[in-house]
Symmetry: C2
Subunit: 121 residues, 2 copies
DNA sequence: TATTAGTACCTTGTATAACAAAGTACCTTG
DNA sequence: CAAGGTACTTTGTTATACAAGGTACTAATA
């Protein structure tokens, strides 16, 4: 029994791959220069990391709550005030660790690929 | 209000980074050679991708249900019978796509690092 | 033939990330 | 003051990972 086969959501693989990753790129962006949500969205999009509002805002709140970023309100000439986020000292430390984690994961996966995909094109 | 600061679970960053990724390495391993759960766990551990039983078994069930892998029971001389998993044709196709996704995510993140971490050590 | 240890597989409950969708509020312009 | 754009927020859903505990088969041994 239970021989049913469901279709595999290929369209979601990139999205699934990103789970839990986003804090790294987002911290990277904020760490480089103070900025606000819609601009972060643009930068992520430019880097081909598509993210939506409903993902980013809660993420920023989490980073704030964790003390990794801080924000100040800033006037805008084109609309309502903006929450300008900047990275904290503790955020920089975490960012370093995230980068190490990334390197490590990266080399783990790439070594697996090398090991098992040799000779494929 | 709400100025509390929670501690950031640094110990979990690697684990979080892996969310949604595992099907890629697991498919890679099974695609290379038929094998069974405890051996997959060993191979992942060797590659520094720590995973626990409670994660792997449901993942294998999902891959099976999706038709990406199949299994046959095989006798063992050292214990109970094993579910030997092998990749299916459809699994190979998904594996290719996952590899592309990985390359793409990889280069996206690395380009962000290059862009924003220039000059840091 | 119980008992024990080792191997293999499975399930349940919890936490949490990502997302879609909808909503609130501010600002400028006509 | 209505309309449109900008910015921020929230709610409900889906799905992954994990901890912890459980079931079951096999072989060795008392």
């Amino acid at each position: 029994m239970s021989e049913e086969t469901s279709t595999y959501r290929v369209e979601n693989t990139e999205s699934q791959m990103r789970k839990g990753f986003l804090e790294f790129p987002v911290l990277l962006i904020i760490g480089s220069k103070s900025t606000y949500a819609p601009d972060i969205l643009k930068q992520l999009k430019t880097a081909n990391l598509l993210v939506v509002e409903g993902t980013l805002y809660p993420l920023l709140s989490r980073l704030k709550r964790a003390g990794l970023v801080a924000y100040t309100w800033e006037e805008s000439k084109t609309g309502p005030p903006r929450k300008m986020y900047s990275i904290t000292k503790s955020g920089q430390e975490v960012l370093s660790k995230l980068e190490s984690s990334w390197e490590s994961l990266n080399s783990s996966v790439n070594s697996l690929i090398k090991k098992y995909e040799v000779g494929k094109k």
